[in-house]
């Protein structure tokens, strides 16, 4: 039998005004197990906590019930007080008689009656409480960053600067990500490569950063503090140690008809290639699907011209297994496919391009060497039309419901750059709303209008019609003038919606990180924990969490790094002791519980069981307490009733039900 002490708080007049506190004490004393009951002005105060400690000592209490505010407010306070007084902290229960009682009930009789019943329920529960000890798990002091764009690079650098080892896994042959494809960045118009390349070099040179390019995460197991990850290093067909990065192989490669991923398919590359000049590592890969040697077995030009003898056609995919304490997801984004948007004639005309393609066109290393020209005939355009919200804010199955956030700003940037470099080119922007919140952002957009005379028209474009003479006829509407517009353009640029990188769903599944309907990773709390995944030990960085621009991405990357560092700095992690526990005598090894467990915390083991004198080997469930988060899904699903949740056991909840219905 427990020896329970009941402590009823007045909370000044917050509780005492509508609950007769003394009456609650009086009725509590009648409950089984209660050996002490008292009330006090402020239970959470130093003096209140002293009262608890004294009662524990004097009456030799084994359990404590505090009738006070919500356990979400002061459960920890009272658990710590109990610990100091020498009782297991999990022998404390709170009866919430403030938020759930005194604050909502005006009538004192009604309030008191409910408070008594809530106290009874808590007492009934404590009678069945058992001391619980949080477990400990170790922390591997190494972090994994998935994705080598600006988000991943920044996170890795921040973690490495704090002194921890970091691995970056990047699926393309080079780190750099989307930012490396951009020409200029808003709102300062500085060159993207000029600010990104130093970061890439720093990451590559950092002694604590290890980069796996052309690699993918293959398998994840384990839990916070101790993840085990299989990384698949795809065969590069080039020996990274021998290669000097001279580039002769790419130059001599006879197969030069593969669309370049880096230049968004606007230019072709060779089968052996480095994606771009500043690539890190500066080691080419052989694209085996397009290489003549791999397709026919006859070529070997690259091998012949390579002075260093680095070409290795026999290279195999390699699996590297590594342990990590924390994982940061920084998988980034891509633009959506425009196949369903027939009206913009994207697939019919080479002169209708996406904004990311325009970045390549404007870039000195791009397909046109930085000259603004039509991709169909190479002529200089005189009339350019930008269309905003292509696929963004679109609730139909064609598009994305969210605002892609960056398009208004990059369109203003493009418009401004074009007007600046080619003042004789007319630029028209069709927009629905111009959304430019952010430091110096609206000023930037206004400059495009006021200083550069970019023609902004409120309205959408209905269709783009390619004409026989190569021009594009744009049919739009000016909603403010209430007239339809027919405009001849030489080039049309579509502000295409962005979506999370295609592989993110697979990664989220491996990490059991939750993902929303748009494939963005979900935060643990949208406001207060925006860079953490609900899965412990997994952090979010960059656009994988939601659309954002470069400064925001860098800020979030830093925040994710700090969270990861905070985890890695610990030697041991305390685990939540309210975990599931299987009764081995009742378990029949049916695997139903393992199927519903969202954390993969339940495994099965063959074990010798002594069932009332009968010794036999049985397959029984075992809960990994470091993984179990204590949701209780398994307890309900278990057909034999073998699973129970410590701290919220079947008997405890039933006792509460009974006390309430008494």
């Amino acid at each position: 039998m427990q020896r329970i002490g009941v402590f009823v708080c007045h909370c000044g007049s917050n509780i005492a005004a509508t609950v007769d506190v003394e009456k609650v004490v009086e009725y509590a004393k009648l409950e089984p197990g209660v050996v002490h009951a008292e009330d006090y002005q402020y239970m959470c105060s130093e003096a209140g906590q002293m009262k608890i400690a004294e009662a524990v000592k004097d009456k030799n209490l084994t359990g404590i019930v505090v009738c006070s505010c919500s356990p979400r407010m002061h459960e920890t306070t009272f658990r710590n007080a109990a610990k100091r007084a020498g009782i297991n902290p999990y022998m404390v229960e709170i009866a919430n008689i403030r938020e759930h009682c005194s604050w909502i009930h005006k009538d004192i009789e009604e309030g008191t009656e409910k408070a008594v019943i809530l106290a009874r329920a808590a007492i009934a529960k404590v009678n069945l409480n058992a001391p619980l000890e949080p477990g400990e798990s170790r922390v591997t002091k190494r972090a994994l960053v998935i994705g080598g764009g600006i988000a991943g690079i920044q996170t890795a650098l921040d973690i490495a600067d704090a002194g921890y080892e970091v691995d970056i896994v990047e699926k393309t042959p080079s780190i750099g990500g989307r930012m490396s494809q951009l020409d200029k960045t808003f709102p300062t118009l500085d060159c993207s490569a000029c600010i990104l390349t130093p970061k890439m070099v720093e990451a590559a040179a950092h002694e604590k950063v290890n980069i796996y390019t052309y690699s993918e995460v293959d398998k994840v197991s384990g839990f916070v503090g101790d993840f085990t990850v299989d990384i698949k290093k795809k065969a590069r067909s080039v020996d990274m140690d021998k290669c000097t990065g001279c580039g002769v192989c790419s130059e001599k490669c006879p197969m030069k008809k593969t669309p370049s991923e880096f230049n968004r398919g606007l230019e072709n590359r060779s089968a052996i290639y480095t994606p771009f000049a500043q690539a890190i590592p500066n080691v080419p890969v052989i694209d085996r699907e397009n290489c003549i040697m791999f397709k026919t077995g006859k070529c070997g030009v690259c091998s012949k011209v390579c002075q260093a003898g680095a070409i290795d056609y026999e290279q195999q995919d390699e699996i590297i297994t590594e342990n990590y304490g924390a994982i940061v997801v920084a998988t980034g984004f891509d633009t959506i496919k425009l196949d369903d948007f027939d009206e913009y004639a994207y697939n019919q005309s080479k002169d209708v391009i996406t904004s990311l393609e325009l970045e390549r066109v404007m870039n000195a290393a791009g397909p046109t060497k930085g000259h603004l020209e039509r991709l169909s005939d190479g002529k200089a355009p005189k009339e350019i039309v930008f269309i905003q919200c292509v696929g963004s804010r679109d609730v139909t199955c064609r598009g994305k419901e969210y605002c892609s956030k960056i398009c208004c700003m990059y369109t203003a940037k493009h418009a401004m750059l074009i007007r600046d470099k080619y003042p004789d080119v007319n630029v028209t922007v069709f927009y629905i709303d111009v959304r430019t919140p952010g430091k110096n952002f609206d000023e930037f957009y206004r400059r495009a209008v006021e200083e550069y005379q970019v023609n902004y028209i409120k309205g959408q474009v209905g269709k783009v019609m390619p004409q026989a003479d190569g021009k594009l006829l744009v049919q739009g509407v000016d909603l403010l003038d209430n007239r339809q517009i027919l405009k001849e353009a030489d080039m049309v640029v579509l502000a295409t919606a962005i979506e999370p990188e295609a592989g993110v769903r697979k990664i989220a599944t491996m990490l059991t990180a939750s993902i929303d309907t748009n494939d963005f990773l979900t935060e643990a709390h949208p406001k207060l924990r925006p860079v953490e995944s609900p899965t412990a030990g997994v952090f979010l960085s960059g656009v994988c969490q939601g659309p954002k621009d470069i400064p925001e991405t860098v800020a979030q990357a830093g925040a994710a790094a700090v969270k990861a560092i905070g985890l890695l700095a610990k030697d041991k992690l305390m685990t939540n002791p309210c975990t599931a526990k299987a009764d081995e005598l009742l378990c029949n090894g049916c695997s139903t519980c393992a199927n519903v467990c969202p954390y993969g915390a339940i495994t099965y083991e063959e074990k010798e069981i002594n069932d009332h004198g009968i010794r036999e080997n049985r397959r029984v469930a075992a809960v990994n307490t470091a993984l179990c988060q204590g949701c209780g899904a398994c307890t309900v699903t278990c057909p034999s009733g073998a699973m129970d949740l410590q701290g919220f056991s079947n008997r405890q909840i039933l006792a509460e039900v009974d006390a309430i219905c008494r």
Binding site: E343, C389, R393, D394, V395, T396, R398, G399, I432, K458, G459, Q460, V461, G462, K463, Q475, G476, V477, L479, N482, Q484
Partner: protein, 123 residues
């Protein structure tokens, strides 16, 4: 009246974000006095008298380009069609009996287009 339009058309005009894609797509834009995108706000403002008397309901070709391309799934074409139907009902004349319509149905064609087309040309 507003409720009636919403019920018949199945359109929720509050979903409109006023992008103007319907008007930008409309082939009869210049012949209309009330433009397709304005239909939504007329319904919202419950100014249905103006819609019932507008030239637009006669000029709409029922091509459904606006319905097809609307990013918010508002379907202004259905609104126009609904108002047209209300005019017909007001006159008390059912120009096609329901039995006739079923015979005229072609599974290849959008039902709504067929209904409105027949209503137009048997005036």
């Amino acid at each position: 009246m507003q409720e009636q339009v919403k019920t018949i058309s199945g359109v929720n005009p509050y979903k409109c974000m006023k992008c103007g894609k319907c008007s930008a797509s409309c082939p009869s834009f210049n012949e209309m006095d009330i433009k397709p995108h304005q239909f939504v706000s007329y319904v919202l403002n419950d100014d249905l008298e103006a819609l019932l008397n507008s030239e637009s309901i006669k000029q709409c070709l029922t091509c459904f380009a606006c319905v097809e391309r609307c990013p918010r799934d508002v379907k202004p074409g259905n609104l126009i069609d609904t108002v047209r139907q209300m005019v017909v009902r007001k006159r008390g004349a059912e120009l096609l009996s329901p039995e006739e319509v079923t015979q005229l149905l072609d599974p290849e064609l959008p039902q709504q287009l067929l209904v409105s087309a027949f209503r137009r040309y048997r005036r």
